[in-house]
């Protein structure tokens, strides 16, 4: 009974929220159109950023601190994922597909995906694409491979996996410190090197992002008989 009332109350609150949101949006869209200050600034500063694609410039130069922390969030998710992983055998026999056609397709498809990821990474400096898309694509390729039962020893929880998780992040971090040691601000690139450094960072990030997402996919429990190891009290 109380549960019912609670649900009704919450539902009504959501309805009210939606109405208010629509009303706020109505006010916002009625505001006069004007030149966007940030866009102007962006196009003025873009030549100094080392890349020609504005989104990449924002992500990896103007607001690179956001990106740094965002990768931190991903790393945390990956860490927690592998900290919960209890599987010793990473190849789940139930998952291995016996279909030879699928294997053949995959053998064709996986390198293609990796190539595509590389291209996205490279393209990111001048047109849509970049580290994140490339990394996600790598992860997707990995997921496909795993679903098909390809062996992936590097995903075993161990030093290699952990190093892979933080590779991009540490490259980013070290380059960020470079500027500060030089007497400039944290995350400032040395003049002239911005483009190259951004590419280095992006390459590292792609690898790590792919690995983290894949690790998260893999570390979910699969085998029903695995042990349930609880922590100590308190």
């Amino acid at each position: 009974m109380i549960e019912r009332a609670r649900q009704a109350l919450l539902g009504a609150a959501c309805l009210l929220f939606t109405v208010c949101l629509l009303w706020a949006v109505r006010h916002l869209v009625a505001l006069p159109a004007e030149q966007q200050a940030l866009s102007v600034l962006l196009s003025r500063w873009l030549p100094d950023s080392g890349v020609s694609h504005p989104v990449t410039a924002v992500l990896l130069n103007f607001r690179s601190y956001d990106t740094l922390l965002e990768i931190g969030v991903l790393v945390i998710a990956g860490m927690v994922g592998i900290s919960l992983a209890r599987t010793s055998a990473l190849e789940d026999p139930a998952m291995r597909s016996a279909d030879p056609l699928l294997h053949a397709l995959l053998r064709l498809f996986l390198p293609l995906l990796v190539l595509l990821a590389g291209w996205l990474l490279w393209a990111g400096s001048s047109r849509p694409g970049g580290a994140f898309q490339a990394g996600a694509l790598l992860a997707a390729a990995g997921v496909l491979g795993r679903l098909a039962g390809l062996p992936m020893a590097f995903l075993r929880p161990g030093t290699l996996l952990r190093a892979g998780l933080v590779l991009g992040f540490s490259v980013f971090l070290l380059i960020a410190l470079l500027g500060a040691l030089d007497g400039r601000a944290f995350l400032a690139y040395p003049p002239g090197l911005a483009g190259a450094l951004i590419l280095v960072i992006e390459a590292g990030l792609s690898l790590s992002i792919g690995m983290i997402l894949l690790a998260l996919f893999v570390s979910a429990p699969v085998a029903p008989e695995e042990d349930a190891d609880g922590g100590p009290p308190a």
Binding site: L21, V25, V29, V55, E70, L216, S219, P221, P224
Partner: protein, 102 residues
């Protein structure tokens, strides 16, 4: 720029629906789906509103990309937790009621 306005409206409705889903749905996976819908709604608003007022704004694109990464990290983490929770207890939703009295 009325097409951007359409997406803004869709974003607002998605926000409302997603929030309702997050609050009312008990099944953890469904709640996570609702959370993702809510996120998409917010991202649509974040991009759509400035697009409607001033035209395409690359800054918002960058922000949304960051937001998507954060959302996917959270989703993947939540999925791991949910699966492990199910694995240990066989439950797919959190128990309600007198959990405060434990």
């Amino acid at each position: 720029m009325t097409s951007a306005l359409l997406y803004v409206l869709a974003g607002a409705l998605l926000c409302g629906g997603g929030l309702a889903g997050c609050l009312l749905v008990r099944h953890l996976l469904r709640r996570l789906l609702a959370f993702n819908l809510l996120g998409s709604g917010v991202f649509l608003l974040l991009v759509g509103l400035p697009a409607h007022r001033h035209g395409s704004d690359p800054v918002t694109h960058a922000l949304v990309l960051t937001g998507i990464v954060v959302a996917v990290a959270a989703t993947a983490l939540a999925l791991v937790l949910i699966r492990r929770y199910f694995h240990l207890t066989g439950r797919v939703s959190l128990p309600t009621g007198r959990q405060e009295d434990r």
